[in-house]
Amino acid sequence: MMTKQEILSKLGISEINKGVTTGSEWFDTEGSTTASYSPIDGELIAEVKNGTLDDYEMIVKKAQEAFKVWRMTPAPVRAEVVRQIGLALREYKEPLGALVTLEMGKIYQEGLGEVQEMIDICDFAVGQARTMNGMNLQSERAKHRLTEQYQPLGIVGIVTSFNFPVAVWAWNSALAITAGDVVIWKPSSKTPLTALATMNIIRDVLKKHDVPEGVFNMIVAKSSVMGDNFLKDKRINLVSLTGSTAVGKRAGQLVGKRLGKTILELGGNNAVIVTPNADMQLAVSSTVFGTVGTAGQRCTSTRRIIIHEDVYNEFVEKFVHAYESVKTKIGNPLDEKTLVGPLIDHFSVDLFKNAVEQVEEEGGKVLFGGQVLDGPGFESGNYVVPAIAEAENHYKIVQEETFAPIVYLIKYKGGVENAIEINNDVPQGLSSAIFTRDLLEAETFLSGMGSDCGIANVNAGTSGAEIGGAFGGEKDTGGGRESGSDAWKAYMRRQTSTINYSHDLPLAQGIEFKF
């Protein structure tokens, strides 16, 4: 494993770094600095100079100018830049993955996985560059052609969260750039260094391919500099925001007020249903990754397990047993034996503790974990023992998303439709899963009367989505879709054209208009 210094050095991170770039050029700013502390040991990693309102204005103007050039660059040529970015990311996969771990706290395997997601979406976008297709439709008028095409949209604002500090940028920007848009990235102020490192990695690619300054922009800034003003800014054609429902609702209102476009990827309250027909070992193994992976800090982390009463005891016994094993593998996420790293900060630890207390206050029972670890190796105070609690779905704490490793066990009786009702009875609608070998149960879960979530899996957990599918959810999750499938359409504007190749002027619907 590389040392901290080696990781930073390979990625071009200094003690104090510039926080504003238009692609290849970096700008010194007069703003305050953001200090990035590692959740692993609480130590300072490095600092970043924040952008100011003047910097923001400069970036938007650069982006507007760059868009004029970029929108007329052929999509496969734009995608060649994305392909080269994918190659550069392959070259830097290990140090960038390690920095993700160092700055965010997810285990090294997940850090590498995050960079792999970036690479995968680059590959995906390259293929998609030649298939961002419209369609020809049958016209009702003689010698007329009716056609539909997709055009570049403009400036895409990308707001990312600490838990996937670079992958979400890649999901959005690989598609947006291929679609002919330009991007302005506001990374999480908790993980600015991974953003800087990513921009450093792509800098040479942009230079080599003469990509105009202003196509790939990034600003590390406080919400007082890039907050409501960013959302209200009419020059930002699309705001893609990954974060909490609270921030998403604010974004939805402010962007909606100016009739701008949004992609909102917000909170989840994801459940796994375990029916009497489940492969129990598969259900346990898969669900443990869903609950404790990334220390429960994924949008798709499993928050609730809805278990049939007939297999409840069997499942719980196996599940608790698995947690006993996991408990011995909590520690420094850079150590390859570790399965659960730290939470992002003390605030998250407090929220975890509050959730453990509250579920008991509401009548639940904690079956495992819930403690904050101390002693050698845990000095940062950010390490917790993942908790399992028996609860009922209507508890206030169960209805909320706690961004930490606490999972609620909920018993159901009768048919699978009862479990589905519990699955759907939360404000959020991101991810869901069912474990069953019964075709009727599985198909019911996937039917119109089934899960109301954006993601519904069978015999696979709630987290760990591939980039090939559209990612996102319903209700309080925001309704946006990112990444694969036809998510690219959100980054383009749709245009319908009628072409008359006759010498007559027939009007639609047969309307007569003679003068």
Binding site: S161, F162, N163, S188, S189, K190, K222, S223, S224, G227, D228, G243, S244, T245, A246, V247, R250, G267, Q297, C299, L343, I344, D345, H346, F347, S348, D350, L351, N354, G381, E401, F403
Partner: protein, 90 residues
Amino acid sequence: MEINKDITIEELIEKYPFSVQYLSKKGIRCIVCGEPVWGTLEEACEEKDFTPEQIEEVLVELNELSKQNKNKTNDDKTRNIIETRNLGDQ
């Protein structure tokens, strides 16, 4: 007053970390999904239907807590949070 109603939640958390627990006890979540919510303290209070008088009370209490915390070092953060909780309980 040092802390006023126009302070952003992000700045409040950064400069006055004890505010998170205090406001949590008042039903206001400053951090969701690990990130600060956007907007000002006043907006966060209004979202929970606080009256102008209640907002004023929050400001007075937060500033009182700030005074208590001023001379303490970062190492005392944990103790501060416990004290904050107690005040928030009242």
